[in-house]
Symmetry: C2
Subunit: 448 residues, 2 copies
Amino acid sequence: MVSHYSEFSAKLNVHVLFLQVCEWKEPEQLALLLDLELRATGESQHRLLQRVEDVAKYSIKTSHPRFFNQLFAGVDYHALAGRFLTEALNTNLYTYEVAPVFVLMELEVLRGLRQLVGWTEGDGLFCPGGSISNMYAMNLARYQLFPEVKSQGLWGLPRLTIFTSIESHYSVKKGAAFLGIGTDNIILVKVDDGGRMIPEDLDEKIKLAKSQGAVPLLVSCTAGTTVQGAFDPLDHIADVCEKHKLWMHVDAAWGGSVLFSKQHRHLMKGVERANSVAWNPHKMLTAGLQCSALLLQDTTNLLKKCHSANATYLFQQDKFYDVNLDLGDKSIQCSRKVDCVKLWLMWKAVGSSGLAKRVDRPEFVNVCFWFIPPSIRGKEGNKDYQDRLAKVAPVIKERMIKEGTMMVGYQPLGNKVNFFRMVVFSPLLSQKDMDFFLDEIERLGKDL
Amino acid sequence: MVSHYSEFSAKLNVHVLFLQVCEWKEPEQLALLLDLELRATGESQHRLLQRVEDVAKYSIKTSHPRFFNQLFAGVDYHALAGRFLTEALNTNLYTYEVAPVFVLMELEVLRGLRQLVGWTEGDGLFCPGGSISNMYAMNLARYQLFPEVKSQGLWGLPRLTIFTSIESHYSVKKGAAFLGIGTDNIILVKVDDGGRMIPEDLDEKIKLAKSQGAVPLLVSCTAGTTVQGAFDPLDHIADVCEKHKLWMHVDAAWGGSVLFSKQHRHLMKGVERANSVAWNPHKMLTAGLQCSALLLQDTTNLLKKCHSANATYLFQQDKFYDVNLDLGDKSIQCSRKVDCVKLWLMWKAVGSSGLAKRVDRPEFVNVCFWFIPPSIRGKEGNKDYQDRLAKVAPVIKERMIKEGTMMVGYQPLGNKVNFFRMVVFSPLLSQKDMDFFLDEIERLGKDL
């Protein structure tokens, strides 16, 4: 299957090279072209087919080998088959009776992922994205420490604090706000030159928070930061969490897939000491949006105790089968989309070894760089050098999108002005694409 | 298109009548049959195709006309085409640059839905299910009243209370727990014989809460309760909300689709006075799981102010296009699935008038009834009558699933013991199916 897959990829690669990554239109123009308005009467089949073509034409080709813009790219054809199957069967993961195959499959896929973390037992759930997985971890940590929060809310509790590095994902902030904890109660821990959390600083900040009367709740480590792709030193952080008895969560939405690789899994050494892990196979494994797993070491049914509402119309206790197979009451959702099939089918198709190869293939993943245009080369000492450099990436990005030849993201970070972050892992990517990329950046920025 | 659709439906109907709704296997047996285990090596194409067949074979046929089990059923073929397109294009709704077509389309679909609510302006978002839409409403109400909650959390705030009817959906409970408000701070309002919230009782309970020092925050009305399909009297509730200055949310996950129907939209009279509405077109409109819209009357950008985290790597402010088109910072998610295409394409195909017909078609929707087996008929006066009746539905349900002929849910409600709730709206459903259903219940329960 691996060779079949590569062959198929190669064919598609030839095909997509003729396509633009995008066909830019100004929003007003695009809205007109698409004729989006919804009317009282229906349309002919012919017209509808044209609409489908237009949607595809003006959409971004995220599977194009030169789409380097996000932490997802490429499509796996087995996963895509699994996704079509999911859509056609149109069911819901809340009870075994309406999703017998998918309930058992989700449990098995979660078991497989937990095994890679290093846990023989545990719990988990597929969630609509890593941000919500991270929120679950916060809610579980809070419930474990203060079970009364579920019924009484936060009012009777001491102020809780969450620790994460300054380069962690913004969802930690969103989660703290949503859960009523507040963004001020996130304490940002320093990172080293490589963007990795400094455990000594974590330890000090925990002590400081305690001395100020707060109750430290959870440390959210990052395995694969969004911009630089850094891995926090999990083993050292686990020591600090153990010492202070804090819930250790690992946001491995981006980096988790290294666990498939013998060569790279050392990056997450210590992950088995965590309480929870968020891992998005829709990113590096190209399982397709969305596929995001929350994994737990817990074996005490914490997930269900924390989230259950015991709705009698759905989770009747007098059913004729084992009602533990009704997964819905573990979730904050009622309807929950089936996100396991795509990963299961892809995993069956290429095996763990095939998935390991995909992780091992790229030499780099997050490649961060500045393009220094000719006009400021060698002028690092000039007063306006940083200001001028900051304006380079946005202009090159605009030109790139308007020509549609490729897509790559940029951002500032700390005291570093706008730089490109090229995400390199698409299975369709060739040496030729990389050469094209470098030449194109040069071409688009040579007059700046 | 409508006639084409019906013809297609008719053909499929003939086809599916030969299929079971389900092919029951005990979980252990099913796990063996499916061979779910994930291994190191990949498998042949032939084997994978067999797996796809098995997944379909043992999955519940939720599009079978005799699937009456949930508030979703049936598949619209235009929506399904939209779903396949979504999967193939595999992108993410957070920025205009990676989803130009879908950003504009989501805005247009939300505009169309808001128009049906009665709002010419406003805001909104597609969410992963109605439960999460309801949580957004709570968080928005909280933020509007106390913007400092985002940074400081709930500690400095007075105790907040939420009002909803005793027959509202369990997601209100889950939301209060998740947001740190606590389930004890949900105050349950009485319903009338039809299951509709009693506005006078709401008014009294709000006053009582105030007198106890709490701050009433939000009323979550239900338009289409889960079990009985009741519609709360929105206009009267709006009066109470106005009087006490509370956020009025309408959980119209199930019932919202009546807004398409001239005949039935009176059920939601007053909805235009709400602050927010949650509406799931994946239910009665058969747009496919998941398609859930949160609609807001607000025009002050509350959604973004409440949820933004201003991540510089994603929402750069020096982009060359209008960054208001980057919708991601309105959301608690980072990756957000594209859920608008299926609804847009279906709406284009049949028009608002076609969707109205689907809503008008069924005479009943939630049909709740007891099957009284021969052995207890006429024995309503017996002491054990209720106990014996309560055991009837679970047994019939077990037999029904094991034979696979049809699926319908049951539950108790208040002092009513287990009764069936038949959800009748599938576009594939015929008179013949209804006759079959009645005969089959009789056959399955005649010896009880």
